[in-house]
Symmetry: C2
Subunit: 261 residues, 2 copies
């Protein structure tokens, strides 16, 4: 983050049908598209976040691997967050951790808390990796379970507290908190102190940048990784897609930086 | 199920380090192992459940695809449940549904309820496919969130009720309920009426077959898919692994059938 002075994370969620026509037909369309986006944004981002479903749906695991290799070579200081929202019993969670940290070599992975701490433990044991736990997600259905009253507070508040006070014994936990819920962002900041949040929901999902940053930032103006995927990747679907992606990233970076000061 | 008179699901969770030595070194070791297990159990099972982390950790997506093709050819009446416990916002959930139902052609997939109904909807829209929602999982950490009191009942009870009464409008929902918690099985049976449960936790995880079946069965003695993975796959780690797997499946089938009558 320091080198680029940016809190912006570029979500790498390739959807071939949204690619510019000249790339869509290429055999390695996803990799080519991602590399162009990375070239256009490497000096403006603090992280890249490939969402793995977009690769798994079309059998593009090799292109995901190649994309991550390209990030390492092109932008070695930038973090790679594998967004896979995994969650399973311990013996299986070990395999998922191996997928994220060994197969893909990600710096961090997103996980789901529903199965409890023992399901997170195999990820947490990679002490130098980030484990980003879903807390209050950006979708409208988030309310259904995450806002349930569990003895005077909401489930997401309890998750925030458990993760920050118990699961975080190695100091490698982060939380997912959607930009679409700025009040909850402020609330989770109060509960968790200095913890870093991964904040999706900007752009296509309609989250307000200024409110999200103001409510979610730490006292030092940091502690946030603000993700945009579709708003950057598909800013233009023409041949100028990379230039448009750069412009969108720059605007987001500047808007975030203005709001965090 | 009818053709084999069995409620047993064989979990296909390949761990190469547990394979017999003569298979471990083969280039398609996972596929060879799975095919031998399928040959040995096809007349004794109602379903196969590949747990996808075991393939993803070692980049064996092609062998998973080939395994499923082999099941279709060898045992066309048997269901394939892709155990991936996915959960993400709607636009991403669409990709995960595509992964499960189109790429792998599974008959059913496991999902996580933490993000709410809108995250399940893209799966539920495949009306002829099964959507197996995590309710009360088999691990000890399940208690941490799933047993929280949410206004006079537990979170897992609320999930059971929501899924059976609301999410199940197309009649294609199932629930995951661990055999390691027989009281909760009885409880969820009371809440959900006729819904089918996928029941892990037998064998390596220590669940009691008789209790689980008695407490979880419907009045007609069905409504359960009882999974065993390690207890079958690694019943022997010698050259007789397939024979041992058959014997373990047969014993489990008979124990389940005895308990459900």
């Amino acid at each position: 983050m320091t080198s680029t002075q940016s809190l912006v994370c570029v979500g790498l969620d390739p959807e071939i049908e949204k690619f510019p026509a000249h790339i869509r037909q290429r055999p390695q369309a996803i990799l080519e598209f991602n590399c162009a986006i990375i070239d256009a944004t490497a000096d403006l981002a603090c992280a890249y976040k490939p969402q793995i479903a977009h690769y798994a749906a079309v059998g593009a695991e090799e292109q995901l691997l190649e994309t991550i290799r390209y990030i390492r070579q092109r932008a070695p200081g930038i973090q790679v967050i594998l967004d896979s929202k995994r969650g399973d019993i311990g013996s299986t969670a070990e395999k998922y951790a191996r997928e994220a940290f060994e197969r893909y070599g990600a710096d961090a992975v997103t996980i789901n808390p529903y199965l409890g701490r023992d399901s997170a433990e195999p990820f947490l044991e990679y002490a130098d990796k980030g484990v980003v736990v879903l807390c209050r997600t950006s979708n409208s259905g988030a309310r259904e379970l995450q806002d349930l009253d569990v003895g005077g507070r909401k489930l997401y508040q309890l998750v925030a507290e458990k993760v920050s006070k118990e699961w975080n014994s190695r100091g490698n936990c982060l939380l997912v908190v959607g930009a679409t819920y700025p009040d909850e962002l402020a609330d989770i900041r109060r509960i968790t102190g200095d913890m870093t949040f991964l904040v999706p929901g900007i752009g296509a999902q309609g989250g307000d940048i200024e409110k999200a940053v103001r409510n979610g930032r730490r006292a030092d103006g940091r502690g946030l990784v603000i993700n945009s995927s579709r708003g950057i990747l598909y800013a233009s679907q023409g041949e100028d897609f990379a230039t448009a992606a750069r412009r969108a990233t720059l605007e987001l970076r500047d808007a975030v930086n203005a709001a965090r000061r």
